[in-house]
Amino acid sequence: MGKIFISLVSLFIVVGAALIYSSTTGTSSLVLLPSELVAKAEAKDLRRIRIGGRVIDPISYQTEPSMVLRFSVKDPKGGEQAVPVVYEGLKPDMFAAGRDVLIDGDFVGGTVRAAKLQTQCPSKYEPAVPGAQQQAPKE
């Protein structure tokens, strides 16, 4: 292998690693379940978090004077602890109670202030198969 090959490859490894390292530490956020958030935060505020949770009622959506969506989330696999969420923006498609959502934002004063809210896409949309669970849908 030539000198140029080796030096170019090494240069990229060093520069690339530095770039990735600095970008990661500057932007990474903690991934938490609602129950973990409650346990971890106690009374503290947390910056840069991502919550994966299931939406529960009550949901309130106002569009005036600006769009504000308020709801709570709990752990997708059950759990009691609900965390209130405020999202200032457009209600995403298919947002409803019972849906799983991903929330990126901060935890301030006991409320998640969402900067980004995504409803999990329905590729997950797997209906319960009637025969497999021995219960036919009510039709």
Partner: protein, 669 residues
């Protein structure tokens, strides 16, 4: 029909099993009989035929509303238009795996057909490797995700569950098949490479033959990725087209390595360098397509597209391991034949620039992979799961992409081996000055952010080098034939004579157009929220919007409310268009969705979303995005795909005749 489909699938599995074993065994022998190869070739085509039958059988069950089939019940219902019943074939995992197998087998059969003219020592192992891949995906389909299963209910279901509303869209008919064609097409280079290593036929043949197949896969993948972005843009209502979601990234990773390979392969062809590097790239590309499937099927990372998390993830992981083990074992066996014939002499040479291009592409690939897997890594290392999002991907990738675009202007122009200072000045002085002037002009015009100014300047630099190249090419062609330099016939003759070269320039030009469009839509996007009563007005940019009325609509499978909003020019008040953003309620699935109203324009897109209507039904809230030059992103992509197909067209006749004669010369032995 379902038994027929199941039978066809099982038969395909048996044939693929036989063909892969026979192919690999024949490939390891010194000489294979022509008749034996022919049997494997036919079997390869039969696998595709069987899987095609299975796919048709499944489609038939959908179209005829056969709700005794579990998969059909899950993903369709009677009220769906027939086109969505057909696209529902790949609406869930089982059917999409079947489509995947079929496409793998289809590509394999095309290669098998073309292999008549390939160097004979390469063919048996090639067919063997093609079939092992088909065998793997057919095994998954047959044993784990078989769509040919009955619904286990005591009574017949009167109606199906229905396809997800977001997937009831015309893009569903084209985006997944394109993406799958891209993914499956990129397994062919791996099969070629492994066959070359296994058979020891390591001349440049495999490289030359692979290039076209790689281009085909790459072009489909490009089209698939951009169509996905376009679909998201039209459907999801957030005004953007790319969110660095794990599923998007999964399709982007093999694209990056395939692009790298398409460049480095030229260095191997011309200079006999980077042989091992190319084996690595081809293996990585194939592995990344499998990794993408693993990522979306295993549920190890959170995504907006949470695919059904299933237990077949581990089989993909095993297969992924196998791909690398085979590659490493074969490379070790042939390590002496893989040593380079030369080394790179100068940094100012085309081979060095191509290597740089490869390193940038791989850096982007690694950064994206890092971002996708960061939750997994961070949890393993620190015990606390962390994630990175759009800011991370942009921070790392924007500078790398700009470097890549810059190299795109240098690579095709600089000389092989070593470029003289005089040549470099001649090629780059004017473009460089032009780019500098553009940068200064932009700053003077008020664009002060660093990256947009840099991006536009670099794009201008590359444009100038491409045009300079074209001018020199046309001049030389005119001098040789005596035609006028700018005559269309002269351009056509030049393009015909050097199709690969100018096809590549066309792709690069498409990338430039996309670069400008992406920069403009990222840097100068306008986003507003507002509420209007009937007759009220709101102005944004050079537009004025006026709410006219509400309109209710009832469709077969949903109810909708449309808000009719007049879009007028702010300058003279003329009506440009009545936009009709919509909110839908799908009765069957009880889902609410919004339909964006979009006015595409050469200067900017107006993208209007109906956010809600108040209880009195008289006031509506909207969100509007003004996306400058957005439409040029799609134009750029079309140019890229066009360039890809131009390059992937069959080689000129002389070349194939030459191959044939060489094939014949080898046969009597």
């Amino acid at each position: 029909m379902i038994e027929f489909g199941h039978f066809a699938l099982a038969l395909a599995w048996i044939l693929a099993f036989g063909a892969s074993i026979t192919g690999v065994v024949l490939g390891s022998r010194a000489k294979a009989q022509l008749g034996q190869i022919e049997v494997v070739r036919r079997a390869t085509m039969a696998v595709a035929a069987c899987l095609g039958c299975a796919l048709v059988a499944l489609g038939y069950s959908f179209v005829t509303n056969d709700y005794t089939v579990q998969y059909v019940w899950q993903y369709s219902n009677r009220s769906m238009p027939w086109i969505y019943k057909v696209t529902a074939i790949w609406g869930g995992m089982d059917g999409s795996m079947l489509l995947w197998c079929f496409l793998v087998a289809l590509f394999a059969s095309f290669v098998a057909r073309a292999s008549v003219s390939y160097p004979r020592p390469l063919v048996p192992a090639l067919l063997g490797f093609l079939n092992t891949s088909a065998l793997f995906f057919t095994s998954i389909t047959l044993f784990f995700t078989n769509p040919f299963r009955y619904l286990k209910t005591p009574v017949l279901m009167p109606d199906g569950n229905g396809l997800n509303p977001l997937l009831q869209n015309e893009y569903m008919a084209i985006h997944p098949p394109m993406l799958y064609l891209g993914f499956t097409g990129l397994f062919i280079p791996y099969a070629f490479c492994m066959a070359a290593l296994a058979s020891g036929h390591l001349s440049n043949d495999w490289v030359r033959l692979t290039r076209r197949w790689t281009l085909i896969g790459w072009t489909f993948l490009t089209a698939g990725i951009v169509l996905g972005g376009h679909w998201a843009y039209l459907e999801l209502g957030w005004g953007g087209f790319w969110a660095w979601d794990p599923v998007e990234n999964a399709s982007f990773l093999p694209w990056l390595t395939a692009t790298a390979f398409l460049h480095s392969v030229m260095v191997q062809e011309r200079k006999g360098m980077l042989k091992l590097w190319n084996v690595f790239l081809v293996t990585l590309t194939y592995a990344l397509t499998v990794f993408g499937t693993f990522l979306t099927r295993s549920g190890i990372v959170q995504s907006v597209h949470a695919f059904a998390s299933t237990d077949i993830g581990w089989t993909f992981l095993l297969y992924l391991g196998l791909i690398f083990v085979v590659a490493v074992a074969l490379v070790i066996r042939r390590r002496h034949e893989l040593s380079p014939q030369r080394t790179i002499e100068s940094l100012f040479s085309r081979e060095a620039i191509f290597l740089l291009n490869n390193l940038v592409l791989l850096s982007i690939c690694f950064a994206v992979l890092w971002g996708v897997m960061f939750p997994v890594f961070s949890e393993a290392l620190t015990g606390q799961k962390q994630t990175v999002g759009i800011p991370f991907f942009n921070a790392v990738n924007v500078p790398l992409f700009l470097l890549l675009v810059f190299l795109m202007g240098v690579g095709p122009v600089i000389a092989w081996k070593r470029s003289s200072l005089r040549l470099m000045v001649r090629s780059f002085a004017v473009p460089f000055l032009g780019a500098f002037v553009v940068g200064v002009a932009l700053v003077w015009a008020g664009v002060t952010e660093f990256y947009p100014v840099l991006a536009y300047s670099i794009a201008f630099f590359v444009l100038m080098t491409i045009l300079g190249e074209l001018q020199r090419g046309l001049g030389a062609q005119a001098a040789a034939t005596g035609a006028a330099t700018l005559a269309p016939s002269n351009a056509v003759a030049l393009f015909r004579r050097q199709r690969m070269r100018y096809g590549a320039h066309l792709i690069h030009f498409g990338v430039l157009v996309m670069t400008v469009a992406i920069t403009a839509s990222m840097a100068h996007k306008v986003e507003r929220e507002f509420t209007l009563s009937s007759g009220e007005k709101y102005s944004v940019g050079r537009f004025e919007l006026e709410l006219q009325e509400f309109h209710d609509e009832e469709q077969a499978n949903y109810d909708a409310v449309q808000a009719h909003v007049a879009l007028k020019s702010l300058k003279d008040g003329s009506l440009l268009e009545v936009m009709a953003p919509e909110m839908r309620f799908y009765r069957k699935n009880k889902e609410n969705t919004t339909e964006v109203a979009l006015r595409m324009g050469q200067r900017e897109d107006v993208y209007l979303v109906l956010a809600g209507i108040d209880e009195t039904g008289t006031r509506a809230s909207f969100k509007i995005f003004i996306n400058p030059l957005q439409v040029w992103l799609w134009y750029g992509a079309i140019i890229m795909v066009l360039g890809g197909f131009v390059m992937a067209l069959p080689l000129p006749r002389q070349a194939t005749a030459e191959e044939r004669s060489r094939g014949r010369a080898e046969q009597p032995a």
